[in-house]
């Protein structure tokens, strides 16, 4: 890790923004346990993930797959008994300056959080303080991180932020309970974007919302992302939604990342049997109604994980090797260089042709990771929007 003097972090995030498509966050070998010693439950195991600038990276998995633990660990928000046992999380501030989030001290983290990395949680009601007005809560962020702003400037910025998510300024004096669920979630998104972070982690941000509200918020989010150029780590169990909104997707199962690919490639040509099963768990809105089976069995008990591949007890393609040997996450055989997709499955090790449904041809070259947004211009707009804040 590059040594970092604390002052570096005080520079506005917009200054650190540079070319799209270059890595912003690199997670390598992250392991997270709950509890210690022999009682420990391994919630995240050896997770590698790269988030590029301006990219929407989806993290999908069932409950208990470790996706939320992953997000809390990389932001160092994990509480006891959660323990990060190994790994590195490199956050690139730009201009060659990096910081390892796992070794950063409290002062560094305090400057980094919200200004560079913001979080939107599932339950907006719990994320907002019920006894403070919306205006106070927005002002609080700005007062802490932008001490040079005066009261009027903070208010202007708060109005601007609410306007960004389609909420009128008169709501500044309102309390969270006076807002609908969708508006509350919009407020938490506005708060997350208050300091123009380069990365926003969203943990099931729309799961509690109705489908129309969910779609409206996702539309706004896409527009904001295009304008401000932040990267999103979007965590959800709803893979069908993720395929629509994400540039690339990582699938977690039993604490491990089992497949990562571009969203369209994952949807059209899954390579891991779990991904295939998950895709087959969402009934379609079109075409003939066909019988679907989901995935037999239950998600693994992390207190007593299966040997070998964590998915082998539910896998319909299970081989002898799967029961004893853990498949490494590695590039798919025969994948083109333009599509660096990885999968952890013995079927894809190149020794034998995989079953036809796991060897569908890749879809044509679509927008690769990070190339979908155009943050080159977006950064300028974003910097302008910051105005006095920067």
């Amino acid at each position: 890790m590059t040594s970092l003097h604390v002052g570096t972090l005080d520079q506005p995030a917009a200054a650190g923004r540079s070319r799209p498509g270059e890595p912003l966050l690199e997670v390598t070998g992250l392991c997270v346990d709950y509890g210690i010693d022999s009682d420990a439950v391994h919630a995240v195991l050896d997770a590698d993930l790269v988030l590029h600038r301006g990219e929407v990276l989806g993290l999908a998995g069932e409950s208990g797959s470790g996706k939320s633990t992953f997000a809390y660990a990389i932001t160092r928000l994990l509480r006891a008994p959660g323990v990060i046992t190994s790994g590195a999380v490199r956050f690139r501030l730009g201009q060659g300056r990096d910081i390892d989030l796992l070794t950063a001290d409290e002062a560094q983290l305090r400057r980094l959080r919200w200004a560079h990395v913001a979080v939107v949680l599932q339950s907006a009601m719990h994320a907002l303080n019920p006894v403070l007005t919306i205006g106070d809560q927005l002002g609080d962020v700005l007062r802490t991180h932008r001490p040079d702003m005066d009261r009027a400037a903070r208010r202007d910025r708060a109005v601007e932020l609410l306007d960004m998510v389609g909420i009128t300024a008169d709501r500044l004096r309102g309390y969270p309970h006076e807002l609908s669920g969708g508006m509350r979630q919009r407020v938490t998104i506005a708060m997350a974007l208050a300091l123009e972070p380069q990365m926003v982690i969203m943990d099931e941000p729309t799961t509690a919302l109705d489908v129309v509200t969910q779609r409206e918020i996702l539309e706004e989010l896409a527009a904001l992302r295009d304008r401000l150029g932040f990267a999103v780590l979007f965590i959800t169990h709803d893979l069908s939604l993720l395929i629509e909104i994400a540039d690339s997707i990582a699938i977690m199962y039993g604490g491990r990342i089992v497949e990562r690919a571009r969203a369209t490639a994952l949807f059209r040509a899954p390579r891991h049997p779990y991904t295939l099963g998950l895709l087959g768990s969402f009934p379609s809105l079109h075409g003939p109604r066909v019988h679907m089976t989901g995935i037999a069995g239950s998600p693994p008990d992390l207190r007593n994980p299966p040997a070998g591949c964590p998915f082998h007890p539910r896998c319909r393609y299970v081989m002898e090797r799967c029961r004893t040997e853990l498949p490494p996450l590695r590039p798919v055989a025969r994948a083109g260089p333009a599509d660096p997709r990885v999968v952890a499955c013995w079927l894809q090790d190149g020794s034998a042709p995989p079953p036809a449904e796991l060897a569908r041809p890749e879809p044509g070259p679509g927008p690769g990771p990070g190339s979908a947004p155009a943050p080159g211009t977006a950064a300028d707009v974003g910097a302008g929007a910051t105005g006095g804040a920067a």
Partner: protein
């Protein structure tokens, strides 16, 4: 407004086992310390008619607050309707004793973590309804009955001695379904039975419901917010909005050729990986207050096709195709003649939102 002409009638595909006619449920509004409008009520369910036929699955789809759970509770007779009629096997349900009714109509609730008692075993959960309803075989026969119940929901008989915490979410929901089956009901009311379950095991439970429809000829009402699963499982779909059923018909036609603008909105907003480009939402906004619902059609303040008549008069159920009923003025034959101030250029056809398989667009309302 409680009498919008005629509510959409259900296309009857089998003998309706359970039928609701013009069901109304209003909850009085009490606000402590504040003078409220005298007699203010929440119009949770307004003039809903629905039939649940034998050996079929009727899916009720709607967003939170649309009244779908209230409807389920009224149908289960957990709450008394303000007005309207409830018929079980063709005779008024009100005349029946509550226990006798429960012997015919059973519920499966959303959260299998809350609906099972954690201090009791699976065996207890299954034996209890048998005892209460006087069906109780004893000794070995009871064991046989419990084994058979578990097998009917595809659980191993060894689970009988387990406690709820020893089971996975999917297994718990299967126990809840087995418990409902114990009294040999004819109707199963399933209120969001899979929304608390993990994605990969949802289909297993849905397929079990489909199985029970075939095997036991159960009349099943499947209540959900997920229109894709309603399409998968349902024989018919009823779409609810603001306490009313606004469209009802065969599952495939409701989702492939939605005729009500709200159904189109729901389908446009639903996640769909097959969609080539991001959807356009027509009719943004939120459902109305149910204390003072809008006059006329309750969707008209959001409706992209709203006409003058929509604000004045509640639309009747109009049959747009055989067995497919839509409560929307766009499908009325002479809708436009009565609305000279219609802002649009003449009669407007409803635009297709999903790839329609047939070109039989709603024939009515397009020509005056």
């Amino acid at each position: 407004m409680t009498a919008p002409g005629a509510a959409p009638a259900l296309p009857v595909t089998g003998t309706p086992v359970l039928e609701a006619r013009s069901l109304v449920k209003h909850f009085p509004v009490h606000q402590r310390g504040r003078r409220t409008q005298r007699g203010a009520v929440v119009h949770a369910v307004d003039d809903v008619s629905i039939a649940v036929p034998e050996a079929s699955i009727t899916a009720v789809v709607g967003e939170s607050g649309c009244g779908k759970s209230t409807l389920t509770r009224v149908l289960a007779r957990l709450i008394r309707p303000t007005s309207g009629e409830l018929l079980l096997n063709g005779s008024p349900a009100a005349r029946r004793d509550a226990r006798e009714y429960a012997g015919q109509v059973q519920m499966v609730l959303q959260d299998p973590f809350a609906s099972l008692n954690l201090v009791h075993t699976v065996r207890y959960h299954l034996a209890r309804p048998l005892q209460i309803h006087g069906l109780g075989p004893e000794g070995d026969n009871l064991d046989d009955e419990i084994t058979s119940l578990l097998e009917r929901v595809a659980l191993s008989p060894q689970n009988a001695g387990k406690y709820p915490h020893e089971l996975s979410g999917g297994q718990r929901q299967r126990v809840a379904i087995a418990r409902a089956l114990a009294v040999r009901p004819r109707v199963l009311l399933a209120d969001e039975p899979v929304s608390m379950l993990d994605v990969s095991i949802r289909l297993g439970v849905l397929n079990l419901l489909a199985d029970l429809r075939e095997r036991e000829r159960l009349a099943i009402m499947y209540v959900t917010h997920d229109i894709a699963s309603a399409r998968y499982l349902g024989d018919t779909i009823a779409v609810m909005y603001a306490g009313q059923i606004i469209e009802q018909g065969p599952a495939a036609t409701v989702t492939d050729q939605p005729s009500h603008p709200y159904t189109q909105l729901l389908l446009a907003a639903a996640p769909d990986p097959d969609r080539p480009s991001p959807p356009t939402l027509r009719g943004r906004g939120a459902p109305p207050s149910l204390v003072n619902p809008p006059a006329g059609c309750r969707f008209h303040p959001r409706c992209p096709f709203a006409m003058a008549i929509c604000a004045q008069q509640a639309p009747p159920g109009i049959e747009v195709m055989s067995g497919h009923v839509s409560a929307c003025w766009l499908h009325a034959k002479d809708a436009d003649s009565s609305t000279p101030e219609n802002p649009g250029p003449g009669p407007r056809p409803i635009p297709p939102t999903t790839a329609s398989q047939q070109d039989s667009r709603p024939p009515r309302g397009e020509s005056t």
